[in-house]
């Protein structure tokens, strides 16, 4: 019987929060685990990019970026017309769902490795690239992109390009790319301990996700439905795009996972600066309280099952 360790730790954390168990993580530990994951994923991707990268990666990257543009454009009218949310709220949530979750990506990688499914190891490059376009589209949807949009562009651009996710992942990616095999000296930490620290990260995230659920009470029916439907739409588009690009089975699964995930690190930081009047607890509660648990417990195994059914691993 196959048993997924990572989701089990997530469930344990969520359960502990629901029964109000005395499970306290020091805030610095959660922050440290996030930093570790960002650096580990970026470094591994950079090393792989140095080993296997070619000019084809540029075209693949451009195609992947288009996914980050299309997803918020699909989400926004759903949120406005079907959810009847205000413009700022809809734009903020659309940006969250067009961007990606590093935690979800890490769980998907752990599951692919558990199933022995190989993938394009330079995928962290796409994770970095997919963080940004949805933010720009989300801000344009909220107020337009002209001079009279009212944004403090300096602050917004600073948040987009200098948030910890982008800085650490792209920095580690570059270091890994430049170091190549010489990065082996730090791999016992960033490679060997990856799964153990991911389990701790998910334990903490389980606690956070369960405590966030209460914040969607007012819009519970719509937000719950949207936060499950949107990942399914994103994963379908991501999977189709991955197949069109010609990725391996593992690559198609990872792009489906990225399409189906929603940001809860980079985008909230930008939106709080750019759209201060939006209901930020609603977007975080949807992405972290519903979509992240859905993807970890149901979505990723589902994407793996459907894609391996349609495109058997050779």
């Amino acid at each position: 019987m196959h048993f997924d360790v990572a989701p089990a730790f997530f469930l344990l954390g969520a359960l502990a929060a629901l029964v109000k168990a005395d499970l306290k993580f020091p805030p610095a530990l959660y922050q440290s685990l996030t930093l570790f994951l960002l650096v580990a994923i970026g470094l591994k991707g950079g090393v792989a990019l140095a080993a296997h990268g070619s000019s084809e990666v540029i075209w693949e990257a451009l195609a992947v970026v288009s996914l980050g543009i299309v997803l918020p454009l699909l989400a926004f009218p759903m949120l406005r017309k079907l959810g009847q949310l205000g413009k700022d709220d809809a734009a903020s949530i659309a940006a969250h769902y067009g961007s990606v979750s590093v935690g979800t990506y890490a769980v998907a990688v752990a599951m692919l490795e558990a199933f022995n499914i190989s993938y394009e190891a330079y995928f962290p490059l796409f994770v970095v690239l997919l963080e940004m376009p949805a933010i720009v589209v989300g801000l344009a949807l909220a107020r337009g992109a002209g001079k009279d949009s009212g944004y403090n562009y300096r602050e917004v651009l600073h948040e987009i390009f200098c948030n910890q996710g982008i800085v650490l992942m792209s920095g580690a990616l570059l270091i890994g790319y430049l170091a190549g095999p010489q990065a082996d000296s730090v791999m016992p930490l960033f490679g060997g301990m990856f799964h153990g620290l991911l389990a701790l990260f998910l334990l903490q995230l389980g606690v956070v996700a369960a405590s966030r659920l209460a914040e969607i009470r007012l819009n519970a029916p719509f937000v719950t439905a949207f936060a499950v439907l949107m990942p399914l739409i994103g994963a379908t588009l991501g999977g189709l795009l991955g197949d069109f690009i010609g990725f391996s089975v593992g690559g198609v699964i990872l792009l489906a996972v990225l399409g189906g995930s929603a940001s809860y690190i980079a985008v909230p930081a930008v939106m709080q600066t750019a759209l201060p009047n939006a209901n930020h607890s609603l977007s975080i509660a949807a992405s972290l309280g519903v979509t992240f648990p859905f993807n970890v417990l149901v979505g990723i195994p589902l994407y793996i099952a459907i894609i391996t059914y349609l495109k058997p691993v050779t």
């Binding site: 029916p221 719950t224 949207f226 439907l229 399914l232 149901v298 459907i306 059914y309």
Partner: protein, 71 residues
């Protein structure tokens, strides 16, 4: 709550439940999606039920009437 978001969540719940059942019975995936669909449907139906208008209960203010009679 407004009827359009409620309708959306009900329809989404039904569609996801049906998709989950189809995937599970054809043994492509487990029953996870089906369960999630049922959960969405349950949230929508509970919200619909609590949003429905309730009959107004009228109570005779006997205490107040007695008070007036004493005067």
């Amino acid at each position: 709550m407004n009827s359009i978001p409620l309708m959306f969540s009900t329809v989404t719940g039904l569609v996801i439940t049906a998709m989950g059942a189809a995937l599970a019975t054809s043994e492509i995936a487990g029953w996870g999606l089906f369960t999630v669909g049922l959960g969405i449907l349950a949230v929508a139906l509970v919200s619909r039920a609590s949003a429905a208008p309730r009959p107004i209960k009228l109570y005779a203010d006997t205490h107040g009437a007695a008070h007036l009679q004493q005067r």
